[in-house]
């Protein structure tokens, strides 16, 4: 398909990328392109300038320092799947990346692109909220960090504003996590998803596909009754579509939340 005419730039550094994003109104960062190129075909997005991040190796780095896993925003799903750092520090990230779409998409698609597109059906927004991740955002005035809970603002909207760039995601180390979803076919689009993380003294469950942003609930305990009560108390009013009514999604939210917490409890 022929895209609308678009200017293209390939910055040679992260700083240059931020400068370009700030200098051109209508500039958009091009990460893996597995969402953006398609919405450009559909004219649902029509950026004037694409700032291609694909050759910025510094944005693809994965490292561990102390108890923190730092993931470059341009790390691909395939990279996370193969990363020994991820396997040791927070293996759920690799597990969930392995559920996203297919080999081709995992080879190009990036974690930064996944969260910045913030499609409510995406896997990583609820997961990163449950894990208590921090997002590192670089702008013309320097760097700032935003918790994942504060990062997702609305459908396709995040705290990374115009002229800013998500550069990395910091995730505390841990293993008692799980992700459960009801999908359209194996590894397909999520109808409802839930990520659970058992942290010292608490349970964090982030539910996806039921609102514009992931909904975080913190059950008083890791048992089924407590999880059902917490999800019920969240007052979810999920959207209805051809795949599930609002009531059915509300029902599924409890089901996947319970499954995720049970699985996280069993993880070691």
């Amino acid at each position: 398909m022929l895209l609308r005419e678009v200017e293209y730039a390939r910055p040679s550094s992260v700083d240059e990328a931020v400068r370009m994003l700030g200098a051109h109104e209508g500039a958009r960062a091009l990460a893996g392109g597995q969402t953006l190129v398609n919405v450009m075909k559909a004219r649902a997005a029509s950026p004037d300038v694409l700032v291609d991040l694909n050759r910025l190796a510094e944005l693809r780095e994965i490292s561990v320092s102390g108890d923190t896993l730092e993931l470059g925003a341009m790390a691909t799903y395939t990279q996370l799947l193969a990363s020994s750092e991820v396997e040791v520090a927070r293996p759920i990230l690799a597990e969930v990346c392995g559920l996203i779409a297919d080999v081709q998409v995992r080879n190009r698609g990036t974690i930064g692109g996944n969260v910045c597109s913030n499609d409510p059906t995406n896997h990583l927004p609820p997961l990163l909220v449950a894990l208590g991740a921090e997002m590192v955002i670089l702008g013309p005035d320097g760097e700032r960090t935003v918790s994942a809970s504060d990062f997702f603002l609305g459908v396709y909207m995040t705290a990374a504003g115009p002229g800013e760039l998500l550069t990395s995601i910091r995730v505390p180390a841990g293993r008692r996590d799980a992700f459960e979803a009801i999908t359209l076919g194996a590894d397909g689009t999520c109808i409802v998803s839930a990520a659970a993380s058992l942290v010292e003294g608490g349970v964090r469950v982030a539910i996806g596909c039921v609102d514009a942003v992931p909904i975080l609930v913190e059950p008083a305990a890791a048992d089924e009754a407590a999880v059902r009560a917490a999800v019920g108390a969240a007052g979810l009013e999920p959207p209805a579509d051809v795949h599930a009514s609002s009531d059915y999604r509300r029902h599924l939210a409890e089901v996947v939340a319970v499954r995720a917490v049970q699985k996280a409890s069993a993880a070691s």
Binding site: M1, E5, E7, A101, D102, V103, Q104
Partner: protein, 163 residues
Amino acid sequence: MEPVTRQTITVEINGTSYEREVETRRLLIHFIRDDVDLTGSHVGCDTGNCGACSVILDGQLVKSCMVLAVQADGSTIETVEGLAAEGELTGLQQAFSDHHALQCGYCTPGMLMSATALLRQTPKPSTDEIRKGLQGNICRCTGYWNIVDAVTAASGQEVESRD
């Protein structure tokens, strides 16, 4: 580099280097098919779902309808035309023929590239690994069984009878 709408790119495809000026909005699949005239890679859905446009870009399987041609500047690409470069079918291609792994053939170039990438990474894949490796490729004719059989056979493993 400052933003441009046209750029000259150099791409090596199946061992041959091509230099062309492209519009930056041009998708890689159209560069391959229309500029370089290698029409083996197909446009199926044009939405990134069907995998008929799959090629191997710098060693990684990608859907070339979701990559801009300009992004491939300086890259090495393998397409279906590169498989039987000497005019002799690869073991995988022969297995597709032997096991009737194609009917209309439209998805076949993408299937072959996905299976080629899979077998490089996993020389003896299980049935599940084959299915997972071909997940990004849709076939509307075969029901997939014969394709999985062909990949199994190409990896030197015995194909189980379903009779």
